[in-house]
Structures are given as structure tokens and as C-alpha cells.
Subunit: 381 residues, 2 copies
Amino acid sequence: MRRHNRTALLRRLHVDGPCTRAALATELGLNRSTIKALVDGLASAGVVAERVPAQRSGAGRPSLLVLPQPHAAVVLAIDVRVEQVSMAMVGIGGEILGRHSWNLHRKSREPGEVITHIADSSQLLADELSVDVVGVGVSVPGVVRRADGQVHEAPNLQWTDVPLGKRLAAVLRKPVQVGNDAELGALAEHVRGAARGAADMVYVSADVGVGGGVISGGSPLRGTGGYVGELGHMVIRHDGRQCYCGSQGCWETEVGEPALCRALALPEGSPRGAVVAELRSLAEEPGDPAGVEHRLGDFTYWLSLGLVNVVNMLGPELVVLGDLFASLPTEVVERASATVHQRSLVSRAVGGTRIVISTLGRDAKLIGAAELAFEPVLGTV
Amino acid sequence: MRRHNRTALLRRLHVDGPCTRAALATELGLNRSTIKALVDGLASAGVVAERVPAQRSGAGRPSLLVLPQPHAAVVLAIDVRVEQVSMAMVGIGGEILGRHSWNLHRKSREPGEVITHIADSSQLLADELSVDVVGVGVSVPGVVRRADGQVHEAPNLQWTDVPLGKRLAAVLRKPVQVGNDAELGALAEHVRGAARGAADMVYVSADVGVGGGVISGGSPLRGTGGYVGELGHMVIRHDGRQCYCGSQGCWETEVGEPALCRALALPEGSPRGAVVAELRSLAEEPGDPAGVEHRLGDFTYWLSLGLVNVVNMLGPELVVLGDLFASLPTEVVERASATVHQRSLVSRAVGGTRIVISTLGRDAKLIGAAELAFEPVLGTV
């Protein structure tokens, strides 16, 4: 029971930040002496610190503010993307203590190369920051078996059947959790981003591919074997382009980065910076909604149809658009919202599903990987 | 604890049927004296009976077989369809003790008429069977708020904002649970049908409309506010027909009963019997797969595309086809399975999602309504 309460208290501080003893007692439904014993125990272990709050409320002795101490438990978060690997050391409370990233090209994208680079760079980063990590979380843009971190298929990386979890655990000698990138984006937005407090939400993001993660009833939605769905591969345009997955007219082929390049009349495979710059220049012509319509009208239509399907199938209160989608002009998001409201009877039933832009931006999957690593750790600190 | 064990034991008998004391002890992880006390308590309350099993296993005194007594707790299950209302009295263990049904036409489909008819008929059926119901479960083909049984929209019934749960509870004076028909079909197939033991499954059925219910991790998947998704309204054919829901090219418009009538060259709105007879005659021409392809090729294509999307989004191990879909020729189901395997990367990842026909047939939603009514009851018997 004491262990259970300790974990609950630590999770509260980790997710929602510093809090007075008095508020902790109220929120967790524990009496003050129990809170005192727990906080004293965590403080003497160096996991939390206490200080007098800057603002006093009411008369009398102020309730002490309890703060998580980031260095008390640090995880290594890794976001493997098609063009880049990012890593961060993240402390309790979610503070990013240090970062490192490197670009990938065709050869360095090979699993063995990526794993070696991760091992070397994480050691350097840990030394530089004088931290010892207690767990590792990894985001991969592919079909991942959660139980053991087996990457079944990560097509844009050209990975097939890579035992990433096992191989990383062998070289890092720490517990390693591997998740699908969109699933981790959803987790991050749910815990720390645009979907805080939303028990039923969907995160949809475009990097090179398009993925989606679902939180249902406050927990991640997974299919059999722990695999998550691949929203990017729903067929949205039956007479559309061939997709590498063996299907045709997948949402990804209509609204992924190559499709966006085509819509913007940029060469497919343009650098991400060029795509984002072009989207910004469109967004910064406020007098020219017709320009947005002219250039992104078709793109917006396919984005909207996919969102109608996501909302009709899952009934979320909120859809968060992440990664490249977060750079779309406001008009596009507004148009998609209007289409969802008009065409989705489920959206109407639930009182109008909101479509919003990610607040974590490009960090969402990295932050989600950190949360994945923290899950088994918080009970043992 | 005793109450908890008693409920677990009763649920075991209700779902899986008669069982020896010895097997109950093993399955529930309880010792024999605890099982004896629980069974004795339930037997003296008339909820279970015991008898010597017909087949003895091994030497020594045989372990007694414990059987649920259906009349000890009876629920009223109601399946409201577009063309018909069915009701059944269902006892613990799932035995159907008696049934009644009546056809609906335009006027008798009005909510007040349906509620009055349900009240009258259920009283007659209860008197005839000498039972007193402890709870009521209702299946409705529409968008339903589970918390209070509010029917937001049941378009094929032409119902909008009907407080069905409250109105039925007022006239029946029993606890009433209302669910979406496809959600209850999924529940029934999961507990008693083709998806027994499958923790991640989807039930898809066609009546006049097309609906889907999802079991994820052993529990029903719901969106915000307790609303379930409407799989039948995913856009599958962007250039397809207008749907009454305000969208276009919904799965329902391509594979619902009217679409099947068009494919079979029957007038839309043909009696269900005529549609099923035509499907049977196709299925009974084993030498003529070309005939099936010729007449149902397009229909099969749209059915398959929708299934690809369902599998890619939800990653189930099993999809159960119910109601009118259960009458489809084997070739159609095989073709759909092949397409899902070929076009769904999630199906390949999870080792091949199976597409099967409902084993409960037309009773699935009625049985699901009974299970819905039993859920809050089993803990209080």
C-alpha cells in the first residue's frame, strides 16, 4: 500500500509538476501524516526536494511545495526517424537535461549502424551530463511488437524483422521499451501536450509516412499481440496511387510528405526545411486564402476524408495533428474541422470532435519515448 | 472478498456453463473449502444446483458438477431492428427461456409505439413463463449514449434524440441498459460465439445499415461520452453515393442491404427473405464461381476495402461477419480474406487476421442485449 501510494505521488509530480503537500493530500485522497511520511522518504532518497512556495495563500504556516528532482531518475529517449535520429536525457518531471541528434542517409540507416551510433552517442551524452540512465524508450516509424520491441516492418527505414529491443538492451545493458512513433506521439500529447485531460484522443502525424496513435479511455489502444493500428494505411482513395505496403490509395500516399511536395510543386524528396518554408510562406499570406485553396485544396480534401473516418471509427473528443501537419496553414485545419463536423455523425453525437495542432511539435515522439521508459521506472525509484 | 469470489464463480458458470467443483477451484485459483462454501451458499439460494457428472474421471468419489439454474435470474433482452422487434427472456447461463417478436412498419416504428408494445409484450411473456426479470438490455441500430440509454440518432428507424433508456425504465420499472446493435453483436460473439477467447476482435454486420463493434483487450471499445464508433460510415468510395448521414460513399451505402439488392438485381427494399434466398441460390451453385464473381464482384471489392481499413486501424485477430453478411457465399468471404491478407500490413504483422462468419447469426444482437443486462446483475444475485 505504501509502495502504491509512493508511486501515485511520484507519478503526480512527474506528470503535473510541483505541488504543495496540502494539494497532494487532497488530490490523492491521503491524510497529511501519510503524505508527510511519503515525502520525507522520497526527500531523504533525493527524489524530491521541498521549498517554501513563492506565493503564500492565506494566513498561517505555508504548505511546502514538493518538487521532483530531475537527476534522481533519468531515462534515455530515442526518436528514430527516416532522416534523423534524436536522443535526449529526460529527468523525472519531464525536464530535458541534454540532447543529441544526427542525420541518417541510406547507409547509416542500416539497423546495425543505428544501434552502434546510439550506443556511442548515449554514452558520450551520459558522461557529459554525469547521469546514469535507469531505462530507455525508443520511437520507431513502423509496426512494432510492444512486448519485446521486435520491429516487424518499418518500410520507410527499409527495416524488416529487426529485434531492436533485444539488440539495444544487449548493448546498453538497461531495460529498453520500443514503441510505434505515432503511438508515442499520442502518449506525449496526452500526458504533456494538446490532449492533456482528454481520455479519448487520436494523434495523427506526417513525417515521410503518416501514422496515428489512439488513447481510448485514458489508455493506449492496441490490437492483438500489442501491435498498434496503422491509420496511414487506410484506403481513402480507391483509385489512388500504389503504396509500398501492397495496397492502393492509402491515406499516407495522399497526405504524406511526398504528396505535400507534389501539392506545393516541390520535387519529391525535398528537404524538410524547404517544405516547411513553403508552407510558412503560404500561411503568411493572410490576404490569399484562395492561394491556399488553389494549391492545397485537393490535399485538404484527402486529409479531411481520412479525419472523417478516424472520428467515425473511434469517436475521440480531440484529434491532434503533429509533425509536418503542425506546419499546415490555419485555413487547412479549419477546413478539415468543418468537413469533419459536416460529414461525421459521430462527431455530431459527441458534441463536435475538435481538430487541433500539436503543442509539442517535433519533440512529441521523443517525449513519448521518455514517457514509455518512465512507465516501469516510477514504481521502483 | 467473498462477494468478489461469488461473482467470479457465477460469471464463470454463466459464460462457460456447468463445471465440476474441482475445475472451478483450479480455474478461479481458490481452495476447495472456499469453493464448497460459495457453491453451498449459491445452491441454498437456488442459483445453482449440483449433480453427479455422467462421466466419471479417475477413481474415488467424483467431483460434483455445478450447474447454473436459469430461472434464478432472468433478464429481458430486446433487439430493435428496422423491420422487426425481437425479445427474449434469458436465464443465467444464457438459456433462452422464451421469445416473442413483431414486425415494424412506418407507423409502428415511432418510439412511443415501440415502447408501449415492448411493455405489453414483455408482461405477457413474463406471465406465460412465470418469471420476474431482474434487468433489461436493449439493442438499437443507432448512436447511443451508454450512460443513460439516450439514442442520439438511429437514422434507419428515423429516431432522433429519444431518451429510450429512461422511458423504458419508467414503464418496465427495472434497470434498463441500452447499447448500439453492433457493439452488442460484438459482445455476444465474444462471449458466446465465433470470437470466444479472442481478446481483440471486430464484429461487422449488415442489416439495413452496416455497423461494427470492437472488443479491444477483452473490453468493448468506446469513444468519448461512451459513444461507439460507426464503422459503416467510414468513407470507402470517395466518388460514391450520397449517404443520409451527410457524407458520401460510406461503407454502408456500398455494402448495406440496398447495395446488396442492387448487386443481385432485386428491387431495393425487397423483403429480407428474398435477399437471403437469392444469396442461397448463388451459394448453392458450386460449379459457378464465375456467377458469384459476375454478380457480387463489385460488392466483394467494397466489402474487402472496408475490411482492410478495419484491420489496419484496429489490428484485430478476428473479424466476425454477422446478420445479412452471414448469408454471403463462401467465395465472397474467401475473396475478402485474401484481399485483407494482401493489402493489410497490420494483418501480416499480427500473423493474419481471420475473417469468419458469425455463429450466432440473427440472434447475435439479442444475445448481446442479454449479456448487457446481466453485467450489473451477476454481482447481486
